[in-house]
Point group: C2
Chain length 271, copies 2
């Protein structure tokens, strides 16, 4: 990692018009770059309401998808990294929940397909079953950039400690998490999960939610936030559209890993 | 697991007199049993001030240790399980930080030796190096009882997600954690770690600290607490001597594992 850099997390409102969602993302990415961000993160399913009945209609192929082409152009124009939240991606009749990552030159330098599908059924609260329409990805995604080494996970992926640990052992210094927790799991587990993965792995976790829309069929929790390697939240959004900026510091990782050497104390001989 | 049972967590003050520490533990264990607890947990190093210079002097052999004999007798007398916090254990010139577990008949049915030694050096805050005098254990400890299957870890062991996950996969429904976090790591990480291990593994975590003594060389955080499989704290102590009781319910584990099937969604093919 270089000494440090600024990133921006765009908590976006999503509506039914895909083109408007892309334009709205563009406005926020422009503002983020004007604010000095070298890396911009969008939320999960930012082009499409989070509703399994719509994923197919809004899906894109990597080769000719309009969102992918648009984000590529925008990254190149601004000379920044864009972590494109996620979109429904179609390949060979299968649909994935995928995060495309763009370099400063607009190249796709990584793609994470959500590995853990969100199938949940909490009595009288929430029922959701991604696996009815989505296929899970099979790859752990860690990307080398000129800023630092970055792991990518999507929403429910955060719940599995094995995944973030694996990314850490692959060298990740920052975990980027496009997400959309809801009004049941959000208050209960969102901050807890973000803080813990950061603390256990002594890296930064930048978790970006869609904004809250009380009229949507799936109401997102909002509260995008970033945790440092000590497990402390040092920037967080409310529930509406918002950009939050944060400084990623190499010194902070090194200092905390030295003072509290968790990663060195792992008993690799026993687990 | 049977349907449910009551446990008690004894947050004890420790002083320099070993015999008085044992007597004090006895008083609390009696009260816990009177309160209906079938399982009683004591804190880490409850016979000995938490100071590496004293561990050797206070250590005991399993075969003739006075604390071990006393707890065995007490468990048998009351017909309850006792998780004997921890004591310095001596074997072949090596000293371990060990939790002895006693059945209703007073038998030693398990012993956990702290697997991760606490070596920490936070500038101007706290320095502690267990590895100067202690040897780490090499065994994951999960014990079958007639109440439920119980994992045992000691203090710093909680920081390693691999360990609690391994216990879960071995069938643990409750993690017992004798501990003594301090005034730096306690406020920052104690509750977070307890809640997260419970949530990620969808089991109960009962974490028992020594009481706070502002005059001790190592000031314990106190705040013994228990988290349920949803990651919620449902009973907690303050900082002084105290017994807290909690109901462990099989139904709660089953319901949460069914509604939010994290353990079923693990990608064992990928990690």
């Amino acid at each position: 990692m270089q000494k440090g850099f600024k990133l921006a997390m765009c908590q976006l409102q999503v509506n039914i018009d895909k083109r408007k969602n892309i334009e709205n993302a563009f406005r926020h990415i422009d503002l983020a770059a004007q604010g000095g961000a070298e890396l911009v993160i969008l939320p999960e399913m930012f082009t499409c309401p989070y509703n399994i009945k719509l994923f197919d209609e809004y899906s894109e192929n990597e080769t000719d998808g309009e969102t992918i082409a648009a984000l590529s152009k925008k990254a190149k124009e601004l000379g920044i990294y864009i972590f494109g939240g996620s979109i429904p991606e179609k390949e060979n009749d299968k649909t994935y929940n995928s995060c495309f990552v763009f370099s400063r030159k607009g190249e796709v330098i990584g793609k994470h397909r959500k590995m853990h599908l969100f199938d949940i059924n909490i009595k009288d609260r929430i029922e959701f079953k991604e696996s009815d329409v989505l296929t899970a990805g099979n790859e752990v995604t860690v990307i080398q950039t000129d800023l630092c080494k970055i792991g990518v996970a999507i929403c429910y992926d955060i719940r599995f400690p094995e995944l973030s640990r694996k990314m850490t052992l692959m060298g990740a210094e920052l975990l980027v998490l496009p997400a959309a927790f809801n009004m049941t799991t959000g208050p209960a587990h969102w901050e807890l999960s973000i803080r813990t993965r950061a603390l256990d792995n002594q890296f930064f976790v930048a978790a970006v939610s869609t904004a809250r829309d009380e009229n949507a069929s799936y109401v997102a929790y909002g509260n995008s936030m970033i945790a440092d390697p000590w497990g402390s939240i040092f920037a967080r959004a409310g529930v509406s559209e918002e950009i939050i900026f944060a400084e990623i510091s190499k010194e902070k990782i090194d200092r905390i890993r030295n003072e509290l050497p968790l990663l060195k104390h792992r008993r690799e001989d026993l687990y």
